[in-house]
């Protein structure tokens, strides 16, 4: 079998990343400064490869790569179709942005642990990419463990209370992984195969089999823990708020999304739409997601710590994504049918939450500001950072033409088409709740005056601009800009063909068999 260069890329993305993790470890002994450079360069190369993969998938078709040349049912196969390619690009873009940001912030926050940070970070990226490209369900489990373990370690890296947060995440994450593994075991016991494509061929006659059905439930529960779907989100707020900010951004923007990707992959590639229509689980998921949306937002209002607030907001946003996934089997429009809203919101959420967490990190970096009430006057002190925060917050609220607005419209349209009007109300209510907790921050940053600060008529002298370094500012501003630019791009429907291909792959949306 002769492969073109691009068809080698799926495995290269992982190999390069894994090798780079070890290189960082070794190079770090010699020179601490080299760690960042290596990590940055690797992720950049990976991103370029991912873009090529995406282009190849869209123009030529799905890439199959057999590891070691072993053909599928026995060997491990990497399969990259429109869905993985799209997710892969998102993962690596945000990883690149976070690594750029981490240069100064880690030097400031964890000066003793630079080497181990970047090693773990690279392992995390490896795990995330691995989950994305693999076409083998056991291999997926392995990569889930790799990225989870590195995430546990990264969260714990600040020490003290972060250790406890990490421990909670470790226990719950392991339970989730166990559920996932049990699901795999059940399937293997029935079919004797671990290859996703192979499974999808063997399974249909067995859909009435109790073991197969129970396995699906195990997958859903296991991954729900990993993606912090309400009410299994309990590990998330602590983990998000005590991790270093770039890791919070990765956690919220990528890690829980990749778990969602895993669920989508299992639901539609291992099982199929026909199976999902057999069980009412997706309806159930919709309701759970709707509760998650509301309760996550309400809990976010209760927080005073910015990062905790953002963490609860993530719980609510995961509800958006799961609601969209839950609706995917009952919508048939060419535009908002199938997985389009869900996948769209995965990208949008990565942009918005990534930006917000990085900004929260900037406040901590500059002045150790954790609580919203301490943000008075920041609007003048750090104008660019605050402007970025505002853009991202406005997107979260869903003011047009931001990305949040586009997601909102698409999900509402999907709700309408499947006739579930109650979810329309949930979406609208949630955007109001978003408004409540985000506006509070914006108001404090720009409008509230400190106690000592008198109403100064002249141009106040006390407000000197004191911005974060450029290497942190550029990632923040890039994400904030993208929040608006991507919104317009979504509205022009340019990237929709990618998502359309995903629907075609799984027989969703307009490709559904009536």
């Amino acid at each position: 079998m002769i492969l073109s260069v691009v068809e080698q890329f799926p495995v290269l993305v992982i190999v390069v990343s894994l090798l780079s993790a070890f290189t960082i470890l070794i190079a770090g002994w010699l020179n601490k400064k080299s760690c960042w450079v290596i990590s940055f360069a690797t992720i950049l190369v990976q991103l370029v490869m991912a873009v090529f993969i995406l282009h190849h998938v869209l123009t030529v078709g799905t890439i199959h790569y057999w590891l070691g040349g072993w053909s599928p049912p026995w060997g491990i196969e990497y399969v990259v179709d429109a869905l993985n390619a799209y997710i892969l690009v998102i993962v690596l873009s945000l990883a690149l942005i976070c690594v750029t940001y981490s240069k100064r912030s880690i030097a400031h926050e964890l000066p003793q642990k630079i080497v181990s940070f970047y090693t773990l970070y690279q392992l995390l990226v490896t795990g995330l990419c691995g989950v994305t490209v693999t076409g083998d369900i056991f291999n997926m489990y392995v990569f889930i463990e790799i990225f989870s373990l590195s995430a546990y370690a990264l969260i714990a890296s600040r020490g003290k209370i972060a250790l406890k947060a990490s421990f909670t995440y470790l226990v719950l994450g392991s339970i989730g992984a166990c559920f996932f593994l049990l699901g795999i075991g059940f399937l293997y016991s029935v079919t004797g195969s671990l290859n996703m494509h192979d499974l999808s061929l063997i399974l249909p006659p067995l859909y009435e089999n109790k073991v197969v059905q129970a396995a699906f439930v195990f997958f859903v529960v296991g991954l729900s823990i990993k993606m912090a779907l309400f009410p299994l989100h309990t590990w998330l707020p602590d983990a998000h708020s005590f991790a270093p900010s770039e890791i919070s951004a990765m956690l919220s923007g990528i890690i829980i999304e990749v778990s969602t990707y895993a669920l989508i992959r299992v639901s539609f590639s291992v099982y199929t739409v026909a199976f999902i229509k057999l069980l009412p689980i997706f309806d159930f998921l919709c309701w759970v997601a709707a509760f998650g949306i509301i309760i996550g937002s309400v809990l976010a209002i209760a927080q005073y710590n910015l990062k905790r607030m953002l963490a609860y907001s993530s719980v609510s946003q995961m509800g958006y994504i799961m609601l969209a996934v839950g609706l995917s089997t009952s919508t048939h429009s060419a535009l908002w049918g199938g997985l389009t809203p869900a996948l769209m919101h995965i990208l949008n959420h990565a942009l918005m939450k990534g930006c917000l967490f990085l900004v929260a990190g900037a406040f901590i970096y500059k002045a150790e500001l954790w609580n919203i009430t301490d943000f008075q006057g920041l609007g003048r002190k750090m104008p660019y950072t605050c402007a970025a925060f505002m853009l991202a917050a406005i997107s979260m609220i869903g003011v047009p033409p931001s990305v949040g607005f586009v997601s909102k419209v698409y999900i509402i349209l999907a709700c309408l088409e499947s006739g579930k009007f109650i979810f329309v109300a949930v979406m609208l209510l949630s955007s109001l709740l978003n408004l409540v907790y985000f506006w509070r921050v914006i108001e404090t940053m720009y409008m509230k005056r400190g106690e000592g600060e008198e109403r100064s008529h002249s141009h106040s002298s006390s407000s000197k601009i004191d911005e974060i370094p450029l290497s942190m500012l550029i990632p923040v501003l890039t994400l904030a800009g993208l929040c608006i630019i991507m919104g317009v791009v979504w509205l022009t429907e340019i990237p929709l063909p990618i998502l359309d291909q995903v629907n075609a792959l799984f027989g969703l949306g307009r490709y559904a068999i009536p």
Binding site: T168, V217, S224, T234, P237, I281, F284, V298, Q303
Partner: protein, 135 residues
Amino acid sequence: MILIDEPLMYAFVAFWIIWVAVRRKEPGRWLIKFCEGPLMTFARFIDFYVMRMAGFFVWVSKNPMVALRIKEKEVRLKVEKPVITPKKAEEYERGLEEVRIRYTKELPRLSLGASILLILLFFLVYLAMYLLTVH
């Protein structure tokens, strides 16, 4: 077409001007009094209750668990007060105070055990649904 109300309108304006010129006071003081008094009181009453309701929701959302407990204790105190001894009522009130103080403190975090319990419950619900619907 002749406008019915136009002459009436001019008549009123003329009346107003003459009244002011003669009496040195604006006509219709009773209406203005009514608006400043009862009407505004009513408007403020409505506004007050709407704002209080909104405030209540915000208050509850700040710490839902404890807020519910406070409400529950308040109601119980009100219901049971006529029947129980004053000493017991005092005890109740002290309990209420305690919860109120706790309210201002930080949110209770769910412990690890509770989280695992939640997961199991979640799983049970799934299984229950699955058993109920498949047959």
